[in-house]
């Protein structure tokens, strides 16, 4: 908020100076002023040249290649010759009529929705808890970050072993309280839940950090006023904390959403999308088609990936709008 304020002010001041100079100066100085502006812009864009080249070469070009790929029939032979026949919408037709499509789309929504809900709810509860400063609170908060910093592959393989049907600690714990073992990774009924639990665990720290930062931005006078009014903790949370946290919440959830749509490592390491398609999301399905062993079907894989990007962008627009709103408040 502060930065955007100063930036607008600065722009306004700059405008004023420019206009003033233009009015007072004879045409010769005006020309030299224009030349100075051009030189300034040239300097600015000289510093931006690396990123522009980078974005074109390593973002736009791969994206374009992927789009092109999805409209061709890329085979093993094209891998060597570099040429592939034009296939029009054939790959999209093939993918959209595939039985896996419905399952993968549904799994993507369930996985994303449930991840966000639990990550946010648990993260918020923890943020509120840590907001009450107590001895050790900042150390413990730092420790909470560890799962988020670990390589996903490490977390995923640890959870895979913990959820192992025969020798995993989770089933052992279930049997201690008298429950039957669950075939977490090998039963189609449970595999999605298993990867979901792991992903929620990974996402909690991120939610905690952002929401905690949001809580700290709420003026303490509001809490004092509400406690004078005799509002209880629960009332205070719902009538002050939660509404004032809305912009931060929106950004947290949307960042989580963009991240969760991409999740690949966790599911691939734990279940490879199986058994069957029971834990396959769109990202997993795309990877499986292209790189999952067997003969690579890169073109259909690219088509699936492009459907995924459409979904990501649709939500991405929400993200940008939410961020604008948060900055303007």
């Amino acid at each position: 908020m502060k930065t955007s304020m100063t930036r607008t002010q600065r722009a306004a001041v700059g405008q004023g100076v420019k206009e003033g100079a233009a009015q007072a100066a004879p045409s010769g100085t005006r020309q030299s002023a224009r030349r100075a502006t051009i030189r300034k812009q040239a300097t600015a864009w000289a510093f931006l040249t690396p990123i522009v080249i980078y974005l074109v070469l390593f973002y736009a070009y791969p994206l374009y290649t992927n789009l092109d790929l999805s409209f061709r029939d890329y085979t093993l032979r094209s891998f060597i010759s570099g040429e592939a026949e034009w296939a029009g919408f054939e790959n999209y037709r093939q993918v959209l009529t595939d039985n896996t499509f419905g399952t993968a789309l549904w799994n993507t929504f369930v996985f994303t929705g449930a991840s966000l809900l639990f990550q946010y709810a648990i993260g918020l509860a923890l943020a509120v808890f840590f907001y009450r400063k107590f001895p050790l609170s900042s150390t413990l908060r730092a420790l909470f970050l560890v799962p988020w910093l670990l390589p996903l592959l490490v977390s995923a393989s640890t959870w895979a072993w913990m959820l192992n049907s025969e020798s995993g600690i989770v089933n052992a714990a279930l049997s201690w309280i008298g429950l039957d073992p669950i075939y977490w990774l090998t039963s189609p009924d449970w595999s999605l839940t298993a990867v979901l639990i792991t992903n929620i665990w990974i996402g909690i720290p991120f939610n905690l950090v952002l929401l905690y930062a949001g809580l700290q931005a709420i003026p303490t006078e509001l809490y004092e006023a509400s406690s004078i009014d005799g509002a209880g903790r629960w009332r205070t949370f719902w009538s002050i904390t939660f509404p004032l946290l809305r912009p931060v919440s929106a950004i947290t959830v949307l960042l989580g959403l963009v991240y969760t749509l991409k999740v690949f490592d966790i599911i691939w390491v734990m279940t490879r999308g199986g058994p069957g398609d029971s834990s396959a999301t769109l990202a997993i399905w795309s990877y499986r088609l292209g790189f999952g062993g067997g003969s690579p079907q890169l073109s259909p894989a690219a088509a699936v990936a492009n459907i995924l990007i459409l979904i990501a962008f649709a939500f991405g627009l929400f993200y940008v709008r939410a961020q604008r709103k948060a900055l303007n408040q």
């Binding site: 994206l63 799962p147 670990l150 592959l153 640890t158 959870w159 072993w161 690949f264």
Partner: protein, 272 residues
Amino acid sequence: MKRSRKLSTTVIGVVLTAIMLFPLYWMVNVSLTPREQLRADPPSLFPLHPTFSGYTQVLEQQIPYLGTSLVVGLGTVLLTLVIAAPAGYALAQLRPAGGATLNFLLLIAQMIPGIIMAMGFYILFNKWGVLDTIPGLIVADSTLAVPFGVLIFTAFMIGIPRELIQAAWIDGAGAWRTFRSIVLPMSRNSIVSVSLFTFLWSWSDFLFASTLNRGGEHQPITIGIFRYIGNNTQDWNAIMATAVVASVPAAVLLVIAQRYVAAGVTAGALKD
């Protein structure tokens, strides 16, 4: 009364943290459990007869993978800084026309799912002949960090007083000299933040490694672990030992740079 309530809050906090970190404890525990006890029912909660055979195996087999990850990580950091720092300076201080559009594009770039980039890179790298090479992997990994890096640098460099920069200009320093001798030294904190995150992301990458470096001579540690899981599922003691070793950078990072980490997470998400 009040003190006892604070104490009980601390106790609750410790318990919550312990629950959250239990998987990490379990990873260490399993990495120290002898192979024949891995299948014990119930599993033992403490490594009563610790063995370091898993770690010996890591040292024998995983060192080349760890070395590759280190090289790729450092290369990615370097590339990211070279691209992102000048861009951040321009966007924060030089007011380029079209800067807002560029900011928007960088925001969009962060949302592109990795699988899409991986597939595009796969075709392109094949054409360019950099499939299965370390430079190829460095370029791919840097896409995880460059947009974030520009965002962080812009946010930090906007805070550098304009008077300072103008003074340098008046002294006759060009834009480049100003950038090198004033802006960069003052942005040390943001350079550290960006480097740390970039290294960590590159170190953790599995998607690009498993698509763009499937058969290369030098493969990163994530592939090393994944190979283990695929080949000898019996040997979870060694797998977990590798996992512990692969977590070391994250742990080091947290200890030496905790404030940068939290600041990085928040700045990346909340600042424009």
